[in-house]
């Protein structure tokens, strides 16, 4: 499998915040979820790889450097940014007529179909849309030129579960239609990722601390609930993080079956991505 996106040693420094040596690859046909708490560096990572903000490091799309082939690369990307869009004073109809100037492959009909499918009013200004409607419009705008890669910053925030599901279906179909495509999706709604992502990356304080296939995470990670004495028996190398609760210890392990056999623990709870994220943020080593 070839990588559609390759990021190596990405660094970006702000006052009081730093992205430190971020490296990852996004293979063809894959949906990669980028998770982390607010301020962890998800949006900065996305803006850096898109060259929206200046950063240091190697960033390649389709084997080409973003700084050298920026326009060629961006013509094949569909982007949804959480907090920015074309204008609040435009209507979907006007957006349709503007976007064809930016993309040679812009499909007016496809955009109109999405607008109808999402039940968005064609002649209403974006400023009068609800946050869910705005997000649907952003998604319709991002996918109507048949991009090769979708980069989505919090695309399901502000949406109700039904619409969220519809949108996740669109993402699934996007990959199913052409398996050379990829999606990078940053979100804090981790349940969405359990359903659609192939890989999960976790970012904490500007550093990628976990990057694994979703199936591997859901299969191998687990939570041991035990007493203080039992916890003391578990070797430090066998767990990732622990949390001291009121009456027990909760321990995140990354190899459920081995731990079960090694320590004779009868039940280890399944860890959801949200659980893992909470351990990574609030847990102790």
């Amino acid at each position: 499998m070839q990588a559609n996106i390759k990021v190596k040693n990405l660094n970006k420094k702000y006052d009081g915040f730093e992205l430190k040596n971020i490296s990852f690859e996004i293979p063809e046909g894959c949906i990669v979820g980028l998770i982390g708490e607010n301020g962890a560096g998800k949006t900065t990572t996305i803006k850096s790889i898109l060259n929206i903000i200046n950063s240091e490091g190697e960033i390649q799309f389709f084997g080409k450097d973003i700084k050298q082939s920026e326009k060629e690369i961006k013509s094949k990307l569909g982007v949804v940014l959480d907090d920015s869009f074309l204008s609040e004073y435009l209507t979907p109809k006007k957006i349709n007529s503007i976007m064809k100037n930016f993309y040679n492959t812009w499909n007016k009909k496809l955009f109109e179909n999405y607008i109808k499918k999402f039940k968005l009013p064609e002649n209403k200004m974006v400023k009068d849309f609800s946050s869910g409607m705005k997000m649907k419009l952003k998604i319709a705008t991002a996918i109507s030129h048949n991009p090769q890669i979708l980069i989505l910053d919090e695309p399901t925030s502000g949406l109700d579960p039904i619409v969220r599901n519809e949108i996740l279906d669109i993402f699934r179909n996007f990959i199913a239609e052409d398996e050379t495509r990829s999606i990078l999706i940053s979100t804090h709604i981790t349940t969405d990722l359990e359903h659609i992502s192939d890989y999960i990356m976790f970012i904490k304080n500007g550093k990628i601390t976990l990057n694994l296939p979703t199936s591997e995470i859901l299969e191998n990670y687990g939570i041991v609930k035990c007493s203080e004495n039992d916890f003391k028996n578990i070797s430090k190398e066998d767990y990732e993080y622990y949390r001291k609760e009121k009456y027990q210890y909760e321990v995140l392990v990354n190899n459920k079956n081995t731990i079960k056999n090694k320590y004779g623990i009868s039940t280890i709870d399944k860890a959801s991505i949200e659980d893992i994220m909470l351990f990574y943020i609030k847990g102790e080593k």
Partner: protein, 229 residues
């Protein structure tokens, strides 16, 4: 070029919500024209100032929607974004001037028919200089304000622009005072007028090109090196 057209289209469609402002502008022009015999001269100045300021307001639209970030995710680079803004403001200032130049005699003639007791004769030479003066005045503001906006944003940039503008005026007045009072140089106004009659248009055009070019270079450099858009 297609991308620049797209950006211009976006800004023009944004400005279409300015219908009421345009109506107000037309009412202002009517009021100025109706005010008296010499007031017609101000019509092109009002037109260029208003169209120039309307064009400048696209920066506020962009800032509100944080659209610079979004536009940079499209196949558009920073250079094209800055060029587009200059094309837009220059075109708007020129269009304002041209419309002002055309509508003034039409408007004055209509007024002459309504108020036959107050016939106004338009001096076309004077009208041309007023129009050029209007374009030059608004261009001076725009060429200072656009780099300020790129540096400090639409809101803060406006304050910085007024400070800069104030400093420039103070400097100009200071130099003029020094030349006429302290250095005792006598200014021959007739010679200056004759000089401007002969070379005025060429000088204004050259100055405009120079001002916009320098302003563009500064804006692009500021925008290119901006770490947080």
């Amino acid at each position: 070029m297609k991308e620049i057209c797209g950006l211009i289209k976006k800004d023009m469609l944004n400005l279409s919500s300015y219908k009421i402002s345009l109506l107000v502008m037309f009412v202002c022009v009517l009021a100025i024209g109706g005010a008296g015999e010499e007031m017609w001269k101000y019509i092109p100045i009002v037109m260029t100032t208003m169209t120039g300021m309307i064009a400048l307001s696209t920066f506020s639209y962009d800032e509100n929607a944080k659209s610079d970030e979004y536009v940079l995710s499209l196949p558009v680079n920073k250079k094209e974004m800055v060029i587009e803004k200059y094309i837009l403001v220059i075109s708007m200032a020129l269009i304002g001037g041209i419309i002002g130049f055309i509508i003034t005699p039409i408007f004055v003639n209509i007024l002459n028919n309504i108020r036959a007791d107050n016939i106004i004769n338009v001096d076309y030479n004077s009208l041309l200089y007023t129009t050029l003066g209007g374009i030059f005045g608004i261009s001076l503001i725009l060429t200072i304000q656009i780099p300020s906006i790129y540096k400090w944003g639409a809101e803060k940039g406006r304050i910085q622009m007024f400070i800069l503008f104030f400093i420039i005026i103070l400097l100009a007045l200071g130099i003029a005072y020094l030349v006429t009072h302290n250095l005792g140089i006598n200014i021959n106004e007739n010679a200056i007028n004759a000089f401007f009659q002969k070379f005025g248009i060429a000088i204004v055009i050259c100055l405009l090109i120079f001002m916009y070019y320098i302003s563009y270079r500064i804006s692009y450099k500021v925008f290119k090196n901006k770490s947080n858009i």
